[in-house]
């Protein structure tokens, strides 16, 4: 059953990468990039159980947090054009 879950996650990964390549706007690509990150975490968990070594989960936690930071950085850049945007400096 782990093999079936891994196969499903691989198909989902392929679809998400296709959307990242095709997507006409930046937001499509950012969405697909976020999905690739979370699917990589799930693939990691299933793969750890598939090979009998579930010690890879620490990396999954790292990926989860990094996914958050990376996507929020992209969005912040796109909205304000500056990564160190300070709303109080505008006034």
């Amino acid at each position: 059953m782990f093999a079936g879950a891994a196969a499903a996650i691989l198909v989902a990964l392929a679809l998400a990468v296709l959307r990242a390549i095709k997507g006409p706007t930046v937001f499509d690509r950012a969405l697909a990039g976020n999905t690739v990150g979370s699917l990589a975490i799930l693939l990691l968990a299933v793969f750890g159980f598939l090979t009998g070594r579930p010690e890879f989960l620490d990396i999954g936690i790292t990926y989860g947090l990094l996914n958050l930071i990376g996507t929020l950085a992209v969005l912040k850049f796109f909205r304000h054009g500056d990564l160190a945007y300070d709303p109080e400096e505008e006034r």
Partner: protein, 115 residues
């Protein structure tokens, strides 16, 4: 008892895989950014939730279960927030959502006579 755990975790993992496939298909096939954001939220909450619950049943009461729970908590709370932030940023950029009327040629974004 072990057989019951195996069957239950097998069912949960199968449900999780199904939702992951559905979410990825939604990401690929739906026509608009806002509708695609639904698909990714499905993957992150339902797909990841069922899959990790099934894996936790397989692992029993060890440290691995605790780490899986932590992973689930992170995934559950941060990834839908990212989806919402993306949708909001897209709205700020004034990307117009595709309405059903557009596809029939009668909406306000298309050249129809019902404007």
């Amino acid at each position: 008892m072990a057989l019951a755990i195996d069957v239950a975790s097998g069912l949960l993992i199968a449900a999780g895989s199904f939702f992951i496939l559905v979410g990825a298909l939604a990401l690929f096939r739906l026509p608009d950014v806002y509708t695609r954001a639904h698909g990714t939220s499905i993957i992150d909450t339902a797909g990841a939730g069922f899959l990790i619950l099934g894996l936790m049943l397989q692992a029993g009461f060890t440290l691995v279960t605790l780490k899986l729970l932590f992973l689930l908590a992170i995934s559950f709370f941060t990834l839908p927030v990212i989806g919402h932030a993306l949708a909001r940023a897209a709205l700020h950029e004034k990307i117009a959502p595709k309405l059903a009327e557009d596809r029939r040629g009668r909406g306000r974004n298309s050249a129809g006579d019902g404007a």
